[in-house]
Every structure is written in C-alpha cells, then in structure tokens.
Amino acid sequence: MTVVERVDRARRTLRAAAIGAAALRGVAAALALLLAAAVLDAFVSLPAGARRFVPVVAVITAAVIMIRRVRGGAAKSDTGGAALWIESRFPSLRYALVTAVDPRYAGAVPELDQAVAKVEFEPAVQSAARRALAAPAITVVALAIVLVLLPAGAIARVVRPAAGDALKLARAGSRTNPLATVSVRVVAPAYAGLKDESFDNPASVRALVGSAVTVEGVQGDGPVVATLSDHDLAATESGERWRIAMVMPAVPTAVRLRAAAHERLLVLEPTSDSAPVVLLTSPARDSILRKPAGEIHLAATASDDYGLASGAFELIVSSGGGENFTFKSRTLGAATFSARTGQLTATLMLDSIGLQGGDMLHIRAVARDRNSVTGPGVGTSDTRTLRIARADEYDSVDVDPAPPPEGEKNALSQRMLLMMAQALEAKRAKISHGALVGESRGIALEQTRLRKRVGDIVFTRLGEAGEEGDAVDKRIDQPVNADSVLAAADRAANATVGTALEGNEDETPLVATNRPLLEAYNAMWSASSELEIGEPGKAIPFMKKALDALQAARSAERIYLRGKTRAVVVDIDRVRLQGKDKGAPAARTPRQPADPARDKRIARFDVALQLVRSSPAAAVDSLLLLRLDLLDRDAGAARAIETAANALRGGKDATNALILARRALAAVPSTPVALSAWGSPP
C-alpha cells in the first residue's frame, strides 16, 4: 500500500467519524430541546400553539448543528489535510508524509516513503475516530433514557401536541380538584361532516345543535356532577378519569360542574345550521303567456353551510277566480345532492299540466339540507308567477256589488241559531231547568222568525206573494206539504215557461230551486217545536238539517259578478260621526321599557368587577352567566365579556377587556343634539 493510499484511508475514517459525531450532536441538541420543553411544560403548561413549534425547532436545530459541524471538519476532507492532521500527532515524520502525498513528489522520492513506512499512524486514526463519536453518542443515549423515563403524557404533549391534552399533565388524587383541569371533546352530528374538536379548559363551547359534548377530567376530591337546565348528570368513571356526556342544546345554556366544594361553569353555545340558500335563475321574472303551450326551462342553484340533501321545483297551479279557486301542486326535477352546492334543472311542458286561460302557475325551487337533528332545513327561492291570459283578457265590467242576498242572511242566522242551541245544550247540566227553558224559548222565537222569512221567500217565488197579511201568516204557521205546494207551483210555472231546462226529468228548475227551502222550512218548524219545550238537544238535528237545506238552496243560486271596481272616494264630511253605535275604548296599557333588564345587568357586572381581585374564579363565573343573558340581545357586549372572562381565567391582565365590556354594557346611544343646553337644570 502506497503512502498516498494509507493517508487516503485515514482521511476517509476521519471524515466518517466527523460526520457521525456531527449527526449525534444534532440529535443530542434536538433531544435536549424536547426535554427542556417537556420539563417547562410540566411547570407552566405551555399553550398548544407554542408546543406545536417545539418539534419543528428541534429538527431545525439538529440540522443546523450537524451542518455546521460537518463544515467545520472540512479541513480533513482532502489528502493534504489528513496528512497534516497525522503529522501533528507524529512529529517524528518531520513533514515526510505531507511531502510524500504532495502530487509533485508522490512516489518520486523513495526516502520519503521509507520514512513514512516506519510510522504506524493507523491505530491513532482509529482511536481518534472512536473518541470523536463516544461523547455525543453517550449524550444521545443519556438524553434518550431521560426522555423515556418521563411520564408518557409529558413527552406526548410536546411531540404530538393537540388541543384537549391538558389532562395528560393532571394527576388524580384525593386532594386533587377534579375540576381544575377539564378537557371538552365535541363530536358534531354526522351529517355535518365536521372533524371532532377538543378544547382545554374552555369557558364556553360553541358547536352545532345536537353535537355530542363530553367533558372529561381526572378524579379527585369527590364525585363530579353536572347541572344542566335543572337536571343533574353524574359523571362516569374510567381509570383515573371522569367523563360527563351531554348533547348541545338548542339554546345557550350554562352547565354547572360540581365536585365537593369545587365548582366550575361551562357555557354551551349552540350554533345553528342555516337553511339552504336557493336562487331560481330561470325563469328570471314573472310573465303572462298567451297560450298554455310549449316548454319552459327551469334552473336554480342551491347552497348550504353543511351540505345539501335534495331539491326540486315546486309548482302550484291556481285556477278560478272570485270566491272559487282551486289549487293543484306537484314537484318537478327532483335531485339529490352530496355536496354543499348544487344545481337544479328541469324542463316544464306546459301542455302536460292542463293549464287553462286565467290560470296561474307559481314556480319556486326548494332545497333541503342534510340536518337530521333539528331539520332538515328547507330553503326556498323567490316565486315566479306565470299567468295564462284569458281570451277575454281585456274585457272589463263595472260592477257595484249589491248587499248579500236574502238567502245568505238566512243561512247565516240559521248557523248562529244552531251555535246558540249547541252552546245551550253544552251548558245544560250547569243551569237550572227554568233557565234552560227560558233560553231555549228565546232561541225558538228567533227560529220561528227565521222560518217566517224563509216562508216569505218560498211563497213569494211560488207566485203567492200577493197573498199578504193574515193569509200568509196563517199558512206558514204550520208545516207545509212540500209536494203539494210544489206541484201546484210547478203546474203554474209550466203553464208559462214550457219545458224543463235542467234537473231531474220529473222536476223543473223552479221545483229544484225551492225544494231545499221548503225542506229547511219544515226542519225549522220541528226545531222550534223542540226548543219551545226546552229540548235544545232534540232540536239540533232539525236545525242542522235546516242549515244543510239552506246551503243547498244557496249553492243552487249563487252567482258572482266580478270585475274591476271603480276607486271609491269616501265623502268623509258626509259620513263623519253618522254611525249609530258609539265606541267606548278601554284604557290603554303602557309599553315595557326597551330594555328593562339593562340596569340589572350593569349591577351584575359591577358585582363581578368587585370580585375580580378577591375571587377571580367567582368573577369569571359571574361574567359567563351574564354573557349567557346577553348572547341573543347584545352580541357586542357578550363578546367583550367573553374576552374579559378568558383573560381572567388565563391569569392575564383583563383591565382593558373589562373596560371595553363595561362600556359595551352601559352603552349610551348617540343622539343628535337638536336642542341647546337650555334644558340643563337651573
């Protein structure tokens, strides 16, 4: 082996040792950093955000140290450098080695090779390499042993920091406050597709309604009980831990955790799942169609905060007018979704839904979200209305409506009398017989009057209106034989009108129209007879029959005239105070102040403020309860109080937060000063 080869071999050995030592030093530095962070965290409980940086910093530190050490050893990376390093440890070489590896003299001077051959420097090189590796290796091993001996939770908090690992540092024990450190895990409803979340020592927890909320802590002084909306939840125990599971309620709620003399407050703040937002993009506006034919392209977009489930177009067709509308509805273009946004499209064939002139088609898009807990939330778009023009679209009739016809009045009165009889029958057991008969006769009197009015109508129509006075009264004071009366009338009518226009073959329109009224007349007679003897219960069936008969008569004749009416200008001066009735308004009751609880809230805040120095924990609880009251009333003040409570709980200076909270609570609305200071007290 030549001198150059020997030196080159030594160089490689030294180089490898230098790189190995650098790596070991880097590793040692990283381990030392982790150890220091773990120890520090055990004492001051580093926040998760800070702990998250520790592994990164450790790796970077290791890399920097290794690179610097490797670069520092670069002197021995060439043959000359290695030769010099050997020369420094073997002075007897007297630079023969350096000269021998010099490319200008390598192999050219035998004396040099001989002088070098006499010196065995390889063992020294090996020894130096071992020495270089030993110290950092021992350090690495020692640090690793210490880290292994640390509690598992301590090193995990540094190596794999995560929210909710506060409990890893807490130790169970009979003297431990089991509420001192709590971790809250929130599992959102499955439909939301949200990741589980954990929080260390939160003052409040925000989550979707229906989320599973598990509060966890280490066991200690007494069993833990949670009070939620006036009912208690006992903790379950598992190993050194206790757990309480609850469901996020629909309204903000304070959970009071208690264990022996310890108490802690946790505010549950539900967040709501918004209904989908739906936008109908086609048709873009309402319109009037000449003919119910052709097709219409329907398009809509929908979006939701957690996810859409389904959607469709909803159609309502309204037909008719005046008092007679009919409706039919259907859906179109139903679709299911598995994302937060979706599109609905469909084509509506107008011929297929049987539209007629004058019909109106109402179109809207509807989307449902995946909320399986409080929903599903339903979102709807604006509605577009398409109207089918009538053939007589531009015709108009000027109509002055007349007062209600006589028949309607009768129906109305019969319904009223029926209701009165039913009410009397209902209270029959509670009143005396005398009172029952008295009231019943009162109704009977009204029933008789109504019967006479119906009789007037019937007999007037039957052409006997000329027979006035006693003759008519005499005749209608008894039940009539409808058939005989109608037969006589029919004969008279047929003699003038001729053939039947409609109805049964054996019945003319005149008969068809008046038969129900005669039936009503007879039923009324029976009803009034029963009422006269104080039997409203027995009268009711007859009264119902009379009512049905009246309605049948009314249906047969009801005709509505509809048209655009003239704008009516009321002659105020003419009608002013011409009403027959006088009003007697009841006293007005005062309105409540805009925020009656404001002063009480400010007083509660002031009490909490006084507690800040003497009992910060109690102050925090007071602030959190106050915040609960403010959540749906004054979001700004609630936010400011939350900041103050968090600062106090974290042992930080809460002065500014408290000032802001107080300012928000006792906020004075700014008002334009319209008057000068004249109004100040003298």
Partner: protein, 203 residues
C-alpha cells in the same frame, strides 16, 4: 297633523288586490264612528318598498299563494320592529288553502311564528267591545272554505303589541262591498275593522 291613510300591501306573488272595496269601506267606518282624521282614499304600497314605512298599518289579503321576496321579507321584519302593524286576512277563509299555508309560512320566516290571540286582548276593546273575540263572518257561518268558525285570530307580538294580525275569517269578503250599501245592513259588520285601526293608532 296628517291624516290616517289606509294602506294595502302589494306583494310580488298572488292577487293582493282581491278586495278592492275593503279600504273604502273601512275608511268610511272610521269616519262614521270616530273623529280620527282620515284620508278619503287608500293607497297601495309595495311590501318591498321604503314607502311602506310611511303607513304604520298595512292590510294584506289574497287567495293565491303568498311568496315574499327576500326584500319583502326584510322590509316587513324591519317594519314590525319599528312599530308597524300588518293585518293579513285569508280571502279563501280556508286553513287548508294555499293562501293560509303560504302566508303563515312566510310570516313565520319574516317576523316570527303566529300564535293564537286571546279573545280578551286589547284589540277587542280598543273602540267597540267584542266580548267573544273576533266577530264571525257570514262566510264562516255559511260553512264555506274550511267550514270552521274560527274562535281566535292569530298574531305575532312584539312585547305585548300586535305586529302581525292574521285572520282566517275572510273579513275581506265580509267587508268587500261599497260603503254606501251599509244602509242595507241592520248591524254594521265593519265595526271590528274600526277596532283594528284604532288599536294600531293608539296602542
């Protein structure tokens, strides 16, 4: 001192103008029974416009589906929050009807859920006394529509004041005649309308 002006709310969907004679009839009644300064004709104002806020009482009716636009919904909420009152009447007098279903849904979304108004409420004694609550209409008593006599009106309250008054009784039909025809009636059936207006003006 300005006049009280009867306002009919116009909404994008439906037949908001289905009871054109009700305003004149109620204006006539207000003049007939009270000294309240009242404009001789009513106005029609889009529910989504800022004009609505000039009229703290608005009347809304119809037979067809009621679908508010987002602007109408927002406007109505603001209107009620500031002290305005909306009187809604189902011209179909049918709780299974499309007006009732759609209007109550929309009111719920815009202002809040409708609840039964007790028959002892100040509305029934704000001018005339209605001991038994809302007076029945001929359309109810005749058994049309849902064939029910509705014992209560519905309302959304702000504090203890009515923000939205909802009727299934079809006062729109009951009061839908020319005011001159009142002379044919033995009992004026618009007196409850006067109560609604006086309530809005004084409570």
């Amino acid at each position: 001192m300005s006049d009280f002006t009867f306002c009919t709310a116009q909404y994008d969907s439906g037949d908001w103008d289905s009871a054109p004679l009700v305003p004149a009839n109620l204006i006539d009644s207000v003049a007939r029974y009270t000294s309240i300064s009242v404009a001789p004709t009513g106005v029609t104002v889009p529910l989504g416009s800022t004009e609505l806020f000039k009229y703290p009482l608005a009347y809304l009716t119809g037979h067809l589906p009621v679908r508010f636009s987002e602007l109408e919904r927002r406007n109505l909420r603001e209107y009620c929050d500031r002290g305005g009152m909306l009187f809604v009447d189902d011209h179909n007098h049918d709780v299974d009807g499309v007006f009732h279903k759609s209007a109550t849904e929309e009111i719920g979304r815009a202002v809040g859920p409708l609840k039964e108004l007790p028959n002892s409420h100040a509305l029934y004694s704000s001018f005339f006394k209605f001991e038994d609550g809302p007076p029945a209409t001929t359309h109810e008593l005749n058994g049309w529509g849902d064939n029910l006599v509705h014992k209560h009106l519905l309302a959304v309250l702000r504090g203890d004041r009515i923000a939205v008054l909802y009727s299934s009784k079809d006062y729109s039909s009951e009061w839908g005649y020319h005011p001159d025809n009142k002379r044919f009636l033995s009992i004026d059936n618009t007196k409850f309308g006067v109560n609604i207006i006086v309530y809005a003006l004084t409570r």
